[in-house]
């Protein structure tokens, strides 16, 4: 062992390291990005989810319930209320993924309150998202407690018992105890089922990263692309060919994970033909969007280290804000903004709608439209930026 030889090797690697901004970013800046994104992506309070209120009673005793719900809308803003007049319509929207829960006040609610005949309101929840459902239900329980019978606060020093009873006659209290009857619209969802949509998107992302990023740049570095640039292939041919091949690989990876993952997680009726067709459609558009996204990022890159260096941070920036592991309703505003522009979000939503809720086309059409538009814009960008010459 000769120390000067070791120092020579260290010097060589340090010089290379400091001359490679991508590597420096990957090792010094990206972990901080991961810290911030991951730190805020888990366990936040659910806010501003869409909940339907179907008030079939509209009587005087329903008013305190409505007031209580509106108070939650104001603060802590757990949900936003949408008024529905028809319960089946609200449940249809719940099943299609447009709502997270439906609160139903039955027509005889006021009468039952006045007669003290076990008055109930129904809380119909989308239990495919247990984080959101339990977040809303927690507020509903607090509302129930505040509406139900008197709970006398301890007397303050010097306070008269009479003044303490005044709260009993508050207009926001009901003379009878009410129940909240919870209805889950889907069978019990394990976390593995919840996670499946994210795993499928991740498999496509990894394929896109390898097919659209690493392979493309490695071929470029090896000079293989020169063999194609001297042929009559146009920019459009080259971009569509390279993205198309990657998208097919992504679709294949996505299908394998959907089927095997679906069987492991126990997704019911996975083989239903129409549902499978929709799944293939979502996977195909997902692959296309991920490939075009990756290709646009790499279209002018020629250093093979770059895609490898940014792989981890891209994964963090795309996967965790998507709602794959925790609902976006629990994110702070800036993370929600990231989630809004993150194609993963729409992929995860569409896959959850198909795999967990079996919504049919209604639950995926908006996501498909967004992903298709996203892909088209990115492909146009790739064609514009692709260098046909050396």
């Amino acid at each position: 062992m000769k120390p000067y030889r070791i120092f020579a090797l260290i010097e060589r690697d340090m010089r290379k390291f400091f001359r490679n901004p991508a590597l420096m970013m990957a090792s010094m800046v990206f972990p901080l990005v991961q810290l911030v994104v991951l730190g805020y992506a888990f366990g936040g309070k659910i806010t501003k989810v869409r909940v339907a209120l179907v008030d079939k009673d509209t009587g005087a005793e329903a008013l305190p319930v409505r007031n209580g719900l509106n108070a939650i809308v104001q603060d802590p803003q757990t949900f936003r209320l949408s008024e529905y007049t028809d319960l089946p319509e609200a449940v249809t929207d719940l099943r299609a993924g447009f709502l997270k829960a439906v609160i139903y006040i039955p027509p005889d609610f006021s009468q039952r309150v006045l007669r003290n005949e076990n008055p109930r309101i129904a809380f119909i929840e989308d239990n495919t998202d247990t984080f959101t459902a339990s977040g809303i239900f927690e507020r509903m329980q607090q509302l129930q407690n505040s509406l139900n019978g008197p709970v006398l606060p301890p007397l303050e020093p010097g306070q008269s018992p009479a003044s303490n009873l005044a709260g009993l006659f508050s207009p926001n209290r009901l003379p009878a105890s009410i129940d909240i009857q919870t209805v889950e619209v889907y069978p019990y969802i394990d976390y593995i089922k919840y996670l499946l949509a994210g795993s499928i998107s991740l498999s496509i992302f990894v394929t896109a990263m390898i097919g659209g990023g690493i392979t493309f740049i490695d071929d470029k570095a090896r000079g293989l692309h020169e063999g194609y640039l001297s042929t009559p292939l146009s920019k459009v041919d080259l971009v569509l060919g390279l993205i198309g091949s990657g998208a097919i690989k992504g679709l294949m990876a996505g299908l394998v994970i959907t089927v095997i993952g679906g069987l492991i997680a126990g997704i019911p009726q996975l083989w239903e033909p129409l549902r499978l067709l929709y799944l293939v459609l979502v996977l195909a558009v997902t692959s296309l969007s991920m490939l075009s996204f990756m290709f646009l990022l790499m279209v002018r890159v020629s250093d093979p280290l770059v895609p490898r260096a940014i792989f981890g941070v891209l994964n963090t920036l795309l996967f965790f804000p998507s709602g794959a592991v925790y609902p976006t309703a629990g994110f702070p505003v800036w993370l929600r903004a990231m989630s809004f522009v993150d194609p993963f979000t729409y992929v995860v939503e569409a896959l959850k709608n198909l795999l967990l809720k079996d919504t049919g086309f209604a639950g995926i059409r908006l996501d498909l439209a967004i992903l298709t538009g996203f892909s088209a814009a990115l492909i146009a960008g790739c064609i514009l930026l692709f260098k046909r010459q050396i």
Binding site: G223, Y228, P232, Q389, I390
Partner: protein, 326 residues
């Protein structure tokens, strides 16, 4: 009309002029060589002619198509074998050719026979199903030549086709290029920094240095253009002051130059000059460590025009007679 017509072609990268106002023409059916050292601008020149790099100035017309105005016309008329090995190592030889045939729209019915024929022509028929990643450099280069011919181009561009190949593979590639030209009358433009390659293969050679065209003619005429038939190269020990001038004063010697310790002496008659040189060395107390005589080569032509040597390796034709003087 020439198959390749280049007028005032220039390429600048910022302040650096890689190709400086080069003009030449290549008639149909000719094997034309661009000879020059690494960094002379040969690859940039070939890239401009094959539409891979846009020229900064000048005109290049290939198979009648302007490289700027009609790049697709150029691309459909040419086969290009770049310096880098560009065949896909993960595919078989046949698959590589199939893909290229499809890119060029060769009809499905013709592909099979064409590919068999091409693989036979490059002596790779028995390896048609083998992965290209398992090929030697020479086999891969031959496959690339076959790939460049898959759409029956009018002109074939080869950028340093034998760089990095062993001598046997180089000879194979040379034979193949000559065979191709003989059989199909293809116009071939190749770049090389091997003078023996240019000498053996090319009907005409353009010598390029620092982006400029310094000479252009047939190898024979280029060699005849310098005032010597033979060159004596020697390494002297104990050479006295004024030794170079003393050599130059010999009546048999045309010129004397020295590069990296080797003295190059041009002459009309190598044997006569050698005798006089050895006699002079004996009289002046110098001794020759190593002496060779060879006919003038393109390397000497390059030396004559540029003042520098192009040599990468000694040719097999050289006669080493140093043992006679030990």
């Amino acid at each position: 009309m020439d198959a390749i017509e280049v007028k005032g072609l220039t390429k600048r990268f910022g302040d650096f002029v890689a190709v400086d106002n080069i003009s030449f023409g290549v008639p149909q059916g000719e094997i034309f060589g661009l000879l020059g050292p690494n960094g002379a601008g040969k690859t940039t020149l070939i890239r401009m002619m094959t539409t891979l790099t846009p020229p900064s100035e000048g005109l290049a017309r290939v198979a009648g198509h302007d490289v700027r105005k009609d790049p697709d016309g150029v691309r459909t008329s040419i086969g290009v074998i770049p310096q880098a090995l560009t065949s896909d190592p993960e595919l078989t030889a046949e698959e590589n050719l199939q893909i290229h045939a499809k890119i060029y729209g060769v009809p499905a019915g013709e592909r099979g026979a064409l590919i068999r024929e091409l693989l036979e022509a490059v002596d790779l028929a028995q390896f048609s199903k083998a992965l290209v990643g398992t090929f030697s450099g020479g086999m891969r280069r031959r496959l690339e030549i076959a790939r460049g011919l898959v759409h029956s181009p009018k002109i074939l561009f080869l950028d340093e086709p034998t760089t990095g190949l062993d001598p046997v593979s180089r000879t194979n590639v040379w034979e193949m290029i000559e065979k191709l030209q003989r059989q199909s009358g293809l116009t071939i433009l190749l770049t090389t920094h091997y003078m023996d390659e240019a000498d053996k293969l090319c009907e005409r050679v353009a010598i390029v240095d620092h982006g400029k065209l310094v000479a252009l003619d047939t190898p024979t005429r280029l060699k005849d253009s310098i005032p010597a038939n033979e060159v004596v190269e020697a390494e002297f020990a104990g050479a006295p002051p004024g030794w170079r001038e003393a050599l130059a004063s010999l009546p048999q010697v045309l010129s004397v130059s020295e590069h990296e310790g080797v003295t190059h002496i041009t002459t009309q008659n190598g044997a006569e000059a050698l005798g006089a040189i050895m006699d002079l060395a004996h009289r002046r107390g110098a001794s020759a460590r190593r002496v060779t005589i060879h006919s003038t080569t393109l390397d000497d032509v390059f030396l004559h025009f540029t003042g520098r040597q192009l040599r990468d390796e000694l040719g097999s034709k050289r006669l080493d007679i140093s043992h006679l003087y030990k």
